[in-house]
Symmetry: C2
Subunit: 367 residues, 2 copies
């Protein structure tokens, strides 16, 4: 198992990751507003650092910030929806949302065409966020490259990345990241600025609890940002909070990758594309033959269709349990489970794609 911000491979053991990274299991008691959310309920979000601070804000209606970013490349797919749903959840809970388009990073590491990056950020990401429920209320949607239109703000942001660099050592980067080079280091520092800048006087102007929801592979960025934040003395930063979610498997149960269309369900896929992808590519936990399946039953925990239902598309606990049990017992066949999954996804996408059409008209309000 290898889990770094730049590579995830091998068989993921989340309990070992919790130990290795030094993060904590989520508390068993969560406020109802969170517990009722499917990502918390199904433990897709499974670990945290200092999440109690945010729970206190939610409970006592105190102000807090949620910060996250998007890398504008490829299609917006189910893997991206895990964060998108959390953005919208926290926005509804009253958080001020800081949503960064990581175009400076994308520009330098992937695609040296800022206009194209902007197009992808809007067409693939922003429109889907809006369709999923993002509102303009309490939202600061910004491009890293354009954190600049207001001179003072821009300085504060880039200057913070620069300032952060003065509060860490090479050895620290090496011990936290394992492998590191100047490019990865500047990328890490820019993310530190993304996470901390909402608290600067040019932005929210006070130490403010900030929740950063990430995949567990991103924890090293949090570690560095948290360490640096407490060493900077010219500002007082409230320590960052974070939650960690599991990796949503790609169709073949490996990585869901923007560069392989057969690994993902995009939120713009047609009904027939979804049908083909699930039936043809979705990794199954079922047995090889019908007879064997009836006899031994399938394994829903490794079945990609079941995982998608559990993560997003079957919010009803009793129904999910029945699918789980029937599949395990062999009563439910892989083809039947897949058919249910296709139907559920397509029912969601049909509504979602209508909302996308409406969302297109609202873009101007967001940027």
């Amino acid at each position: 198992m290898k889990v770094t911000p730049w590579e995830v491979s091998g068989n993921i053991n989340y309990d070992k990751l919790i130990k290795d990274f030094g993060v904590k299991h989520l508390p068993t008691q969560l406020p109802k507003k969170l517990q009722s959310n499917i990502l918390f309920k199904r433990k897709t979000i499974f670990a945290h650092r200092d999440f109690e601070i945010i729970l206190d804000c939610i409970k006592n209606r105190k102000p807090f910030v949620m910060m996250t970013g998007l890398m504008p490349s490829g299609k917006f797919h189910l893997g991206h929806r895990v964060v998108a749903d959390q953005i919208i959840l926290y926005q509804k809970l009253g958080a001020k949302i800081y949503l960064a388009v990581a175009d400076t990073e994308a520009y330098n590491s992937r695609n040296p065409n800022l206009e194209e990056l902007k197009k992808v950020a809007i067409k693939e990401y922003l429109i889907n966020y809006i369709a999923l429920g993002l509102s303009t209320k309490n939202l600061d949607f910004y491009f890293q490259s354009q954190r600049s239109k207001d001179g003072v703000k821009s300085n504060a942001y880039y200057s913070l990345a620069n300032l952060a660099s003065r509060h860490a050592t090479f050895n620290e980067f090496k011990s936290i990241y394992g492998e590191i080079d100047p490019g990865k280091m500047t990328s890490s520092l820019l993310q530190t600025a993304d996470m901390l800048h909402p608290q600067l006087k040019e932005f929210e102007n006070k130490p403010l609890p900030t929740i950063i929801p990430v995949g567990i592979d991103q924890d090293p960025h949090l570690k560095i940002a948290r360490d640096i934040s407490q060493r900077i003395k010219i500002f007082k930063f409230q320590q960052l909070s974070s939650t960690y979610h599991t990796f949503l498997p790609g169709l073949n149960s490996g990585k869901m990758s923007s560069s392989d269309p057969n690994s993902y369900i995009a939120l713009t896929d047609s009904a027939s594309e979804v049908d083909t992808k699930i039936k043809k590519y979705a990794f199954s936990g079922g047995q090889k033959s019908l007879d064997e399946h009836r006899k031994k039953g399938g394994n829903p925990n490794i079945d990609v269709s079941f995982i998608y239902l559990k993560t997003f598309f079957e919010p009803n606990d009793n129904k999910l349990k029945k699918l789980h049990d029937d599949y395990s017992s062999g009563k439910l066949l892989t083809s039947e489970l897949k058919a249910i999954t296709v139907r559920k996804i397509n029912s969601f996408l049909k509504k979602h794609q209508k909302k996308r059409e409406k969302a297109k008209k609202q873009i101007d309000k967001f940027i």
Copy 2:
């Protein structure tokens, strides 16, 4: 002897520095426009990298850029004048001038008050530049923190620092700088962006010869920027050129330091301040007693008054030679040499300070 961008100490041996840094002596034949300049004539500017490219531009009236920066701290003193005079020289020779206020760096390393930094940059630096002859023609005077007012340009600049980081290794930084940490590395990368960004499409939009005049201690910044510039493939950068000048000694013959008023002559010092500073503090190459001086003579090469005359205030070669010879022979006393120096400096400052008053009214045209 220790000569790094962050520390200069010991007895400076320029020939050894030329070898150690791997730079070259200036060509003996320079175009008249340069040779007639006192800094070239007196070999205050003594070494270079790829200066031939710039000589060709000057000779054939081809476009080129001069880039330099200022650290907005303390008073503008004679040490700063070495670069200021070169800015004005190259501007007169037709170069496009890029003049950076290193406020992002100053902000993070010294003074977390941007407004104050801006005040110092204007009151101490810009006004003196204007009084020394800087014009608005072909000038891009910018604040690092504000390389942002135009969104596109700002991205290009900061993004270039980020991009640069992807084209160097930690080992390279270590081998070039000797000692390095994340703060120094980000500072180096921002300077790389300062030096190279004029060639980007958002600025001059072509590979363009660029001369960077620096003190020899700053050469590591050049080395990194030059190496990185040739590795970046998504733009084609013309290799940077640089010249190196000697360190102007402070009054006590050590470092001229903004933090020690008795080490420098500020361009705002009054006539009586100059009188006191030279007579009381200027390190003398003369002998301890009058008798001994008459007998053995003084050493003009280590005499701070003589060095100031040679660097700035006695452009007439014959007159300078006479001072040199008379001082060496013991004919000219330290008190007499100092009196001449005071008179020359005060004659310059009287005119300069009148020009400063006029310059104050022109600031708006420059920023």
